[in-house]
Subunit: 116 residues, 2 copies
């Protein structure tokens, strides 16, 4: 059963969700960072910088920098691939998994509270 959402409901949902993100004071993730983070947690590993850059349609430095900043927040981690040491494998963290869950719960809750 597909999720049915009228455009007017969708607008309110985006509004409530953005507002919740802003108000909860957590470090602000950009759209890019959210897309990267959720890709890492939704799609099966392994993840490499080049794949993420291609999937998001951005340049590789964008991914490197996003991993730098999200790494500082302990939302993802990196390690060299020993089989091909040019590669970097991006890994999940406990804190990142919790952050992803929080995002899902937050949106599901906002959707639940939408007026008909």
């Amino acid at each position: 059963m597909a999720v049915v959402l009228r455009p007017a409901q969708a607008i309110k949902l985006v509004h409530d969700f953005s507002l919740a993100l802003v108000r909860d004071g957590e470090p602000d993730l950009s759209s890019r960072q959210i897309a990267i983070l959720l890709t890492i947690y939704l799609e099966p590993p392994p993840h490499h910088v080049r794949d993420l850059a291609r999937k998001l349609g951005v340049t590789k430095p964008v991914i490197t920098r996003a991993l730098d900043s999200m790494g500082k927040l302990d939302l993802v981690s990196r390690r060299r691939d020993e089989r091909d040491r040019r590669d970097v494998v991006i890994q999940r963290t406990v804190k990142g998994a919790l952050a992803v869950e929080r995002i899902g719960d937050l949106l599901a809750e906002q959707a639940q509270q939408l007026p008909p």
Copy 2:
């Protein structure tokens, strides 16, 4: 009828939506800017800087700067309130209304395509 959205579906929805925002290349709005823009278009006027700052839980300069940048994109406009010239009234624009509609349509479409 409330919108029913399981957390796992919500995560995928946020992912697809963020990805669509990143990929379409339009000037990137931050969470704050999206929250401000949608508040202006969802809630009844008049809107003042102080109200938006209070509703979003941010300082007034944040609102001023967001209005500056969104004004440059012609998504909102401002004028002095002649009845109390300290006040600034924030107004909608045609381009802003279209951008809001686009956001709603984008999310509704992503929701429609969610697997059950």
